[in-house]
């Protein structure tokens, strides 16, 4: 069955390194979301795209985070340079953008920055 895929599933890196997380939305979905989940802040929306165009990235630290959709089958979230406070689980979700506006989540990337 169709599902959102994310790579890598786990990433451990040192402070200052660049981290790139990738997401493949469900084929035919035109909206893509990036969330960050931590114990302290819960689930936060970082950015989202509709038809590959960024609609809202107000939840994202602009100085070090960037999100792109090079094509309809790939969304990326990049952190450069990474910091220990970026340690979290990052989820990608996709949706049809119409109807019930249901979002389908990927399995997440657990990022640890030491």
């Amino acid at each position: 069955d169709a599902r959102v895929t994310q790579t890598p599933r786990h990433k451990v890196t040192e402070m200052g390194q660049e981290v790139t997380m990738r997401c493949q939305p469900i084929l035919g979905h035109n909206t893509v979301f990036w969330y960050r989940q931590t114990m302290m802040q819960g689930l936060e929306l970082l950015a989202y795209f509709r038809n590959r165009a960024p609609l809202d990235d107000s939840g994202m630290p602009k100085d070090r985070f960037s999100a792109e959709m090079p094509d309809a089958t790939l969304a990326t979230l990049k952190i450069q340079p990474s910091e220990p406070r970026d340690s979290a689980v990052y989820f990608c979700a996709s949706g049809l953008g119409t109807g019930t506006y249901e979002q389908y989540f990927g399995p997440g990337t657990r990022l640890t920055v030491t």
Partner: protein, 115 residues
């Protein structure tokens, strides 16, 4: 701005019993959607049930049902005949009429089903 509140950080229920998780939200919109998502230990977020604000009838999905009180801005989830597989974090969420794509999540309730 929309907000979603879940006042019960943790709950437990005996297997086969019924449990209700609370959720309140705040919005100035007339039309919106409400959701309950489940996050089991596997971390996968799964949509459990959705409610359209303009529909008065409460949504049901098998053992899951909601009590939607629009005037009180309350949206509770009832799980009947609880099963061990229901052990998970449950997130209440809402979207706005002006931006249906943007879903605001509550802090979550950790539910443990005890055998």
């Amino acid at each position: 701005a929309q907000t979603v509140t879940q006042s019960q950080p943790e709950m437990s229920v005996q297997e086969a019993e019924t449990v209700t998780l609370s959720c309140t939200y705040d919005t100035s919109e007339n039309n919106y959607y409400l959701f309950w998502y489940k996050q089991p230990p596997s971390r996968q977020m799964i949509l459990v049930i959705r409610q359209e604000a303009y529909k008065q009838q409460n949504a049901t999905e098998n053992r899951f049902s909601v009590n939607f009180q629009k005037a009180a801005k309350s949206f509770s989830l009832k799980i009947s005949d609880s099963q061990l597989g229901d052990t998970a974090m449950y997130f209440c969420a809402s979207s706005s009429e002006t931006s249906y794509d943007k879903v605001i999540f509550g802090p979550g309730t950790s539910l443990s089903v005890i055998p």
